[in-house]
Symmetry: C2
Subunit: 411 residues, 2 copies
């Protein structure tokens, strides 16, 4: 987990901490409660922007609109407007028109060009957005914007659906003598209401960075952070990660050729990884975070496939809930991942407790294992001794509450 270089430090703060960003949120009536359900992040200058989207073939309408803005606008954005309570997914032509109308309304409210605005939605699938409420809410957004922590807080609240906790992180680092800030907000996997579409993440920074470098960094970082978490193996129609860089830190433009590129990319990865872990830990019904590290695979790709298979195994997840040192389920998951494995050379540890060496059980202290597995984070380490590939994946345990939450009849 320690990928951050020593000269970047985590600090209090959120998406408004990087220079140039304000944010806000309000309630416009998409949620039945009085909680925030509409928010925005606005940058005072055109920010370099990059995004990655769900691989689900049923991509929700807002993702098309955001892609359109980023591509047509030369990878620059000034604002993103987000609603929760309704995912605007599986809503056909009308849904697409609504997403474009939401973008137009936000552009007008903020005095921006339409292609400078991205949109995102999360919530119930298959219902049309009540556009009158959306329009009215957007009218109120400019007054709700705030460049201090209160703005970040209100935005964080606006994107949550049934997440139990807000997900926010901020780090600072030195880039050629300038203080650069990277911050993020995310919402995850609370699907108490069925038919909901799930993960959104927003990362802001005041770093000056080359647009292509930002897109490449985002893709690489997503592969080892957000793409390495699983709550239940399901990929939603609305997942999106958007990043905006204002450049106002005044550093020399970052690209892989920059002397501080490694430090910046490590800090960027730390932000994404922390948000991803927060989502996994707040998975539906979860009582603990599960981290699976695979080493000795034939490639990083192979290690990723194995780590995700183990962390996504219902049997492993149930065993973690039961604080059961059940290595048989772990090795069975390793063996069905469809990756090259030497069946005679696998080591497995639970935390520091060795349970399997050379694919053979090692007697261990059951009391000690029970105590470890009852902690709030469980680290499962698998060494295949078959190559140099490594990967880490994150998930959570499978609990009664997961079933209760997801079996609840729609109301």
């Amino acid at each position: 987990m320690g990928v951050v270089r020593l000269f970047s430090v985590e600090s209090a703060g959120g998406v408004t901490s990087p220079k140039g960003f304000s944010a806000g949120g309000l309630h416009c009536g998409l949620k039945k409660t009085s909680r925030n359900d509409l928010g925005a992040i606005v940058c005072e200058v055109p920010a370099v922007a990059a995004a990655v989207y769900t691989t689900n073939v049923f991509q929700a309408a807002p993702l098309k609109v955001t892609r359109d803005s980023i591509v047509s606008g030369g990878q620059r954005l000034r604002a993103v407007v987000v609603n929760s309570g309704n995912a605007n997914a599986c809503t056909g032509v009308q849904g697409e028109e609504d997403a474009y109308a939401m973008r137009a309304a936000a552009a007008k409210a903020f005095g921006l060009g339409e292609q400078e605005v991205a949109v995102a939605s999360t919530g119930v699938i298959g219902e049309l957005l009540p556009m009158d409420r959306v329009y009215e809410g957007i009218t109120g957004l400019p007054a709700a914007l705030d460049a201090q922590s209160e703005g970040a807080e209100q935005f964080c609240q606006a994107i949550l659906t049934t997440d139990l906790v807000k997900k926010e992180i901020c780090v600072k680092l030195d880039v050629n003598g300038r203080e650069v800030t990277i911050a993020g907000a995310a919402k995850g996997s609370g699907m108490i209401h069925p038919n909901m579409a799930t993960m959104l993440a927003f990362v802001t920074t005041d770093a000056a960075i080359n647009a292509q470098s930002l897109q490449e960094l985002l893709g690489q970082t997503t592969n080892v952070t957000f793409n390495m978490i699983t709550v239940d193996g399901d990929t939603s129609t609305n997942d999106m990660l958007l990043t905006m860089a204002s450049g106002l830190a005044g550093n020399d433009e970052l690209s892989p050729a920059h002397a501080d590129w490694d430090a910046f990319s490590a800090a960027f990865r730390h932000v994404c990884q922390t948000l991803a872990q927060m989502i996994a830990r707040d998975g539906e019904g979860a009582t603990r975070l599960v981290e699976v590290t695979v080493t000795g695979a034939v490639s990083d790709f192979s290690a990723q496939a194995i780590a995700k298979t183990v962390v996504g195994s219902s049997l492993v997840k149930s065993a973690v809930f039961g604080a059961d040192a059940n290595w048989g389920r772990i090795i069975a998951a390793v063996g069905r991942a469809g990756q090259p494995v030497n069946p005679e050379t696998v080591d497995i540890r639970l935390g520091e407790i060795v349970v399997l060496t050379g694919s053979r059980p090692i007697p261990f202290d059951e009391e000690q294992a029970l105590a470890y597995l009852q902690g709030d984070t469980v680290v499962i380490s698998v060494d295949l001794h078959h190559g140099n590939g490594t990967a880490t994946a994150w998930g959570c345990d499978l609990t009664y509450d997961y079933v209760r939450i997801n079996a609840a009849y729609r109301t």
Copy 2:
């Protein structure tokens, strides 16, 4: 489901119903209870044999021994000996020696050559077989054999671990004027004891059949039956399907050139499919069988991948447990299966209730849907309108009991 031709009929009976087979079971002390934990099927003539094995890279020792017998013995077997309570998996060199010793002891007890005997084990992973009890049990097996239904019953009981019900099926059909019987027994996915290895199935028939044709039929049939069920997506280290054909029905040797080949292969498929469905329905904690049929995919392979993704989705499984007509989770699972799908042309039905047409929600009677989903079998039909590929997969709902069963601390 109706693949059986009209002239094959299901009848009472089990693995001893086909001519030439006797079977039996007894308790030798591998299970803590007094239930049977050792059984055998014996054929009075060398039976044509074929088997398929788990794809898990950690194959248990008995699978190696059975493969050795079938290959070395020219695809002929006289007997299979099976124990439950201990899977003899992840047991290293000693485990392999024990599996060979179990084969040798059974061969001696039945007066057969070692290569005429197959072995199978199911139960806890990572513990050595207590061979003294196995030897003593095997000594008692010849006296326990019975060619009537009692023998089949005792065998059925001997292979169960924590299955709630025995799994047995028998069909009869006419092959060029001779009555041919095909019967099967299986054990499935009851893993109340953790570290258990799961599915075993045995199919006996008195048909005369060409060895190569039997192996090919077994492979093809497994792909559309046992390989299309999932309880929790985990593939065990011990899964094995073994079939033995005595030839005593006296029909002309079956091969694809035989006029009744289609009838025989349909009946064979019906036996395998019924056992597979029984395993899915008796999945851990299950309250209902879920059948997912995909049509209109670009290929049968593509349809299979989509059907298995839907039936294996934790969100879909939870919704079925909650009798929730949650088509959003179904379409999300279709969309993440990694297969070609036209996002505008998907129809979804729950039983006969249409919930989605052309990827758009259709208003439906919630009361009617609730009543349907509360039945003991739920059929989800997905038509992609994108090709001619079709497939059916079976699974079960995800329940509190699944979590309870699998979170239980090992005792």
